[in-house]
Amino acid sequence: MALLEIKDLVKRFDGRTVLNGVTFELNEGQTKVIMGPSGCGKSTLLRCLNRLLEPDGGQIFFRGEDVALPDTDIRQHRQRIGFVFQQFALYRHLTVLENITLGLRKLRRLSTAAADKKAAYQLERMEMGAHRLKYPAHLSVGQKQRVAIARALAMDPAVLFFDEPTSALDPLMSLEVAAVINQLRSENVTMLCVTHDVSLARHVTDRVIFLDDGQVKAEDSAEQLLTTHADPRIRQFFGQPAALK
């Protein structure tokens, strides 16, 4: 069964339709990348999926249960989704360790010791163990990204969402993030990743969803979309990503 099944998702802002019947699936253990021109609604889509925004229509099945319904326990639903932001959004007043333990203590109700242990494990996994007592202000951009990923993973989410994980990074660090995502993929972590970065898309998945005009216009491997897709607009997007950014 699909972990996530999105059917005819609609979202409007002040009468302007941004998502106009988005439909796709994400299976357990699968990684899919969502691409598309700027402003086509990629972030909006992710935000609808965890009900940060209210969809205006359609269904979002999470393990078979429609979480777009009004009576959904939104906070419970959100705890199953790990979200990694473009701006990292680390809590500035907390240390690396505290950034990760906050959710474990407040939501999972773990003791400080148990939360610390769990956080330490995730930090080691992201090779950030040595930095656990630092504050975000003292981390490099790449390190912040790793902490953000560790923070999301610590909650044992069913799926990880990434919104433009590399757009704030230089090419070398983008490769690092791609390596981290690949590592998670080999561990069968389910991921949905929004990006502009064609090389990231190629590195981490064979399933790219192309979103445009509020709909899924194509779903295929990055190679196929780039070289042989029938729609020249799509070929062009993947051939000259910079031109459309």
Binding site: N50, L52, R75, Q76, R78, Q79, I81, F83, F85, Q87, A89, L90, Y91, R92, H93, L102, G103, K106, L107, Y135, P136, A137, H138, M155
Partner: protein, 217 residues
């Protein structure tokens, strides 16, 4: 009367000044934080009501409020003590100003962090207590110190309702001893000392909670 005797009475007054200042500051902090929290928790209607409160309390002279509470409320059968009257006037005014200070500081909290916390599944109250307030309070240190100092400078109003704080003691002493210059100079020095104490206390608290990446003071 020997000057040491005068000084002893003034110091006793200083104790009352401190008591009034601290009580009103605490009242102000509780109301200020309460206003900000309520504004973040509830919708437009509550926010408008709170805006009215801060607007009114910042617009009425403290002395008038104090008289309304101390001399007015007994007409309704409520008899607040002098200290409580100070808290309900000066303290609440301080709260109204602090609410504005906090609001400004809250605007400087990165909205992405707030969204990240909500996306994690934290409740609105948890986000306020774990993310918004800790950052806001650090950013608000200079503004808070400013308000606390204002409270100290308004504390002499306590004498109008019979609190024997420094200024009241000084007036009584000056009229009986005719040593006004020395007495009022001593009073000035005492206020300055209390002010420095307040600054020192704030600096200590600020240092204890200092975090890299927050520009304060």
């Amino acid at each position: 009367m020997r000057f040491s005797g005068i000084l002893a009475l003034l110091l006793e007054g200083a104790g009352y000044t401190l008591l009034v200042t601290v009580s009103c500051v605490i009242t102000g902090l509780v109301t200020g934080l309460g206003i900000v929290a309520l504004r973040r928790l509830f919708g437009k209607g509550v926010a408008r009501l709170l805006a009215l409160y801060t607007y009114v309390f910042r617009g009425i002279p403290v002395l008038v409020l104090l008289f309304i509470v101390f001399f007015g409320l007994p007409g309704l059968g409520i008899r607040p003590s002098p200290l409580v009257s100070m808290m309900l006037s000066l303290g609440l005014v301080c709260g109204a100003y602090l609410a504005e200070v906090f609001r400004g500081a809250l605007d400087a909290v990165d909205p992405h962090e707030i969204i990240a916390a909500e996306v994690m599944g934290l409740s609105r109250l948890q986000v306020i207590l774990s993310i918004e307030f800790p950052q806001m309070l650090r950013l608000a240190v200079p503004g808070m110190l400013n308000e606390f100092t204002t409270v100290l400078k308004y504390s002499p109003f306590g004498y109008t309702v019979g609190i024997p704080e420094i200024t009241k003691q000084a007036m009584a002493l000056a009229s009986t001893t005719l040593r006004g210059i020395e007495i009022y100079t001593a009073v000035g020095v005492l206020y300055f000392g209390i002010y420095q104490l307040l600054c020192l206390l704030m600096r200590m608290i600020e240092r204890k909670f200092r975090v890299p990446g927050f520009a304060t003071q």
